[in-house]
């Protein structure tokens, strides 16, 4: 078990290294001059050259990458013209835009993204497993057909349309809630929850369609297995057969998919974040790409990588825990 986790983590480190190389390569192939963008509209060529020197863009790509790695493992110093700014390991560099430390920036934005993703997961698990189970049990009936239509509509509706509709209905038309603004959990938990409610519902409903379909199919699959027949033949009630035995077999794939979805979402649920003005990683990443802000982009991509890899490890562990026949090697 411990050995398995260590092995997976070592693999993860390699994946992350490859990921950073890839992002650096892409960045230097892509058009756009970070120095010009960082300097601003009215800069003359000399000023731009100065900025370029300051950002270290004159060095070779390779040297820049080595410096980046040095920053991650040992920290590095930046000259700001007047003094020296020390950036502690793990240092992901300074933003080209405002000299803010990327590590700080990313961790700050992570809070918002995590709030969104975790809350949405609760909703998609409850709604997804609930409707999936219901449609598996009412197979062929009106309930199932209605639920099928709803889940299809759910997967078919883009998240920003779903979110807009919710915003218009709840905030503009019914005026049950004010238009959401992000309040960090640490500041005011109650306000945090109220303001996150709509984003959670939007993302949660959108994702739950997928989970409903997965739960439905795996429940039906389990219901067709021989051991279900055993318990029916021993007079175990249908409700018990379904909740204790059929659902039990349907849960592992749902867990596995959830963990992976959650990992991907830590890289930012861009659309939802943008729509509700949540200062999360997705929004920051888009801004970073727009301004050719390499350190920010690399930082967020790496964090997403960490999240996805960790989520996969966690998914495998949970799967093995849920189904004891799975051996971790």
């Amino acid at each position: 078990m411990t050995r398995y986790v260590l092995k997976r983590l070592a693999g993860a480190a390699l994946v992350l290294l490859a990921l950073s190389v890839l992002v650096y390569a892409l960045f230097y192939i892509a058009p756009g001059d970070p120095a010009r963008l960082a300097c601003g509209e009215r800069c003359n060529p000399e000023q731009i050259a100065q900025v370029r020197e300051q950002l270290g863009l004159n060095e070779s790509v390779f040297t820049q990458f080595l410096h980046f790695l040095q920053g991650v493992f040992a920290g590095r110093d930046y000259s700001t013209g007047t003094g020296v700014l020390h950036c502690e390991a793990p240092c992901l560099g300074l933003s080209y835009q405002n000299d803010q430390q990327v590590t700080e920036l990313v961790l700050e934005r992570l809070g918002a993204t995590a709030s969104l993703a975790l809350g949405a997961m609760v909703i998609w698990l409850v709604v997804g497993i609930g409707t999936g189970l219901l449609s598996a049990l009412r197979r062929g009936g009106l309930t199932e057909r209605t639920l099928t239509v709803l889940t299809l509509a759910g997967t078919g509706t883009p998240v920003f349309i779903l979110g807009l509709l919710l915003l218009m209905a709840v905030c503009a038309y019914l005026q049950w809630l004010p238009f959401p603004t992000y309040v960090p959990l640490g500041e005011d938990p109650e306000q945090w929850a109220w303001n996150m409610l709509l984003p959670w519902l939007t993302l949660g409903f959108f994702e739950s369609a997928k989970y409903a379909r997965l739960t439905r199919s795996s429940t039906l699959e389990t219901l067709a297995e021989d051991h279900i027949r055993t318990f029916r033949a021993y007079g175990v009630g249908e409700r018990s057969v379904v909740t204790r035995h059929a659902l039990r077999g349907a849960v592992p794939p749902v867990i596995a998919l959830s963990a992976i979805d959650l990992g991907t979402m830590f890289g930012g649920a861009v659309l939802t974040e943008s729509l509700f003005g949540i200062p999360g990683l997705g929004k920051t990443l888009i801004d970073g790409v727009r301004h050719v802000d390499l350190p920010v982009v690399v930082g967020i991509v790496l964090l997403t990588g960490v999240a996805v890899v960790l989520a996969n490890v966690v998914a495998d562990l949970l799967y093995a825990l849920a189904d004891r026949r799975v051996a971790l090697t």
Binding site: Y234, D323, R325
Partner: protein
């Protein structure tokens, strides 16, 4: 709850099936106008080939067809409960409380996610509402009763941590937990090795003697029935063929179908290869000195072995996880000869078979084909002899590509051998289909259009297409009904006599192997424990394991079966 009042002096039978009809979707009538009764404490076997409707009857006793869309007619009464009309509560009482089912496949019949003891406790609590702890204690008690060692600890294991035999015991324990008056056992030992099967049948026998539970046994294996029941009902196409006391039905069957069925069952005391080959008229010799003559006949042709394995080994995995599947096996196969390889699951017989045709690479030892070493040849160097070494697989369903016509499947080896002329290929495939007893016009038909036996014929035709000198048959008939089994083994023997093939016949069924082989090798844990002619191995087995295997084979003679059960019990008691 009112039990029907039986008339004075008469005792209503435990099970009364009256004109039962079960029809599945599409108008398929699985059971057709079947009536029988089973008295309390008695044992009845439903015997028949696949598709005879025997399992459907078993399900009907517990009302398992209710709510599935199957249409049932007639009445079924079990312990006074009218199964077709019973309300939910009564049905619940019936299932497990009055009649308990023991299912066929012990691997899939238990929920993989829960501990075995918890599953038994769950069922127990349905019928005996009470504290969880009492139910758990009962689960441990019954597990102990069916011979699960260290039942307290093992009750916390999940099904996959049990062996096949232990899982079957656990299912029996579940059935026992609620003290039912009737056990319905649907092929309870079909998935098990013969020695484990004998243990389970003995256990079943013992439990019934102790508790007086009645038994309805569903089985395709006449031998299993002979060992376990008082009465037999032979079914065919959903109808009753013959019914009566086991000694009468098996000893002096009245119906021709029953006679044919019994004749097809391979038996340890039946005619061996000698008589059968003689019957085909391939060798003109008297039974007694047939073996001698046969040796003489072949002496000039193929005294040197066709295939020879010396200390053949195969390991899987590396380091600590390494498993030795085949551990130094030496054998020879001559042209025109059948070598039977018999062993229980996990004995390494399939691994050995695959190595003999180089589907698997040996990790040690030598393999010589017609005098040339082929054990370590590369795929390119092997090409010339690949064609001559063919294999017929166990599962005729899984070993044919369902998306390709059988004609195309049979043509594969021809194309591989470099044949390009389509008309020649077609002609040859038609010849082959005809040769294995299939209609040549069914070239374009797909595997699902064929029955199991026909599919195995297709598999044989495919092996023959390459004009092999040696065919390794891995459990070629174990998925088939006995009558089909007999046809397929007869076909193999016929082809062998005609083409002078060397055959390696791998099977777990000792009686089948005896029937088809000249020489036999008994495998256990990757080694050959005993090897010799059929008469030597079956007539005077030297190795204790061989003796144990032979003693475990169910006998068709109920009297003999009882006697042997007694003998099996003796060493256990001592």
């Amino acid at each position: 709850m009112t039990l029907p009042n039986p008339g004075p002096g008469t005792k209503a039978p435990l099970v009364e099936v009256d004109r039962l009809t079960v029809e599945f979707g599409g108008g398929v009538r699985a059971v057709d106008d079947l009536s029988f009764t089973l008295e309390a404490g008695r044992a009845l076997a439903l015997v028949g080939e696949s598709g005879s409707g025997k399992s459907t009857v078993a399900g009907a006793l517990l009302g398992l067809h209710r709510g599935t869309g199957a249409r049932t007619g007639g009445t079924v009464r079990v312990g006074g409960i009218d199964v077709g009309a019973a309300g939910p509560d009564e049905l619940r009482r019936l299932r497990g409380g009055v009649a308990a089912m023991v299912f066929q496949d012990p691997l899939s019949a238990l929920d993989p996610y829960y501990a075995v003891g918890d599953q038994i406790a769950e069922v127990y609590r349905v019928h005996h509402p009470g504290p969880r702890k009492a139910a758990r204690a009962r689960a441990v008690e019954v597990l102990d009763r069916v011979g699960i060692p260290d039942a307290v600890r093992r009750s916390r294991s999940r099904p996959h941590e049990f062996s096949g035999g232990m899982r079957q015991r656990a299912l029996l324990a579940m059935a026992l937990a609620c003290e039912p008056r009737l056990l319905v056992a649907d092929e309870p030992t079909t998935a098990l090795d013969v020695t484990v099967q004998a243990q389970i049948l003995d256990l079943l026998h013992e439990l019934r003697r102790e508790t007086g539970t009645a038994l309805l046994l569903v089985t395709h294996d006449v031998g299993v029935a002979a060992e376990s029941v008082d009465d037999v009902l032979v079914m065919r196409g959903g109808r009753e063929v013959e019914r009566g006391p086991v000694t009468a039905v098996l000893g002096a069957p009245a119906e021709s179908y029953t006679r044919a069925l019994l004749a097809a069952v391979p038996r340890l005391d039946g005619p061996a290869r000698t008589a059968r080959a003689h019957g085909l008229g391939t060798v003109d010799a008297a039974d007694a000195d047939f073996a001698h003559d046969r040796g003489g006949l072949l002496a000039g042709v193929a005294d040197e072995p066709l295939l020879e394995a010396v200390e053949l080994r195969r390991e899987f995995g590396r380091g600590k996880a390494a498993v030795t599947a085949v551990d130094g096996v030496s054998l020879t196969v001559r042209a025109g000869e059948t070598l039977g390889v018999v062993g229980e699951s996990g004995s390494g017989k399939t691994t050995l078979g695959r190595m003999l045709v180089r589907l698997l690479d040996p990790t040690g030892g030598r393999l010589r084909y017609r005098g040339a070493e082929i054990g370590a040849l590369s795929e390119r160097e092997l090409r010339s002899c690949r064609r001559e070494l063919q294999m017929v697989f166990q599962d005729p369903v899984a070993s044919l590509n369902p998306r390709r016509s059988v004609g195309e499947s049979i043509a594969d080896p021809l194309r591989v051998a470099g044949e390009r002329d389509e008309t020649r290929i077609r002609r040859r495939v038609r010849e082959l289909l005809d040769r294995v007893g299939l209609d040549p016009d069914r070239y374009e038909a797909y595997p699902h259009e064929f029955s199991g036996g026909q599919r195995q014929r297709v598999g044989i035709a495919r092996a023959l297409a390459a004009e092999p000198r040696l065919i390794v048959c891995d459990e070629p008939v174990s998925a088939l009904d006995v009558t089909t089994q007999a046809q397929v083994t007869a076909l193999l023997a016929e082809l062998q006599a005609e083409l002078g093939l060397g055959l390696v016949f791998i099977a777990h069924d000792l009686a089948v192997v005896r029937q088809v082989s000249d020489r036999v090798a008994v495998m256990r844990d990757g080694r050959i424990v005993e090897q010799g002619t059929v008469d030597e191995v079956y007539g005077a087995p030297q190795d204790p394991y061989t003796r144990q295997l032979l003693a475990a084979v169910p006998s068709l003679d109920p009297v003999l079966a009882a006697e042997r059960r007694g003998r099996r019990r003796e060493p256990a008691a001592a």
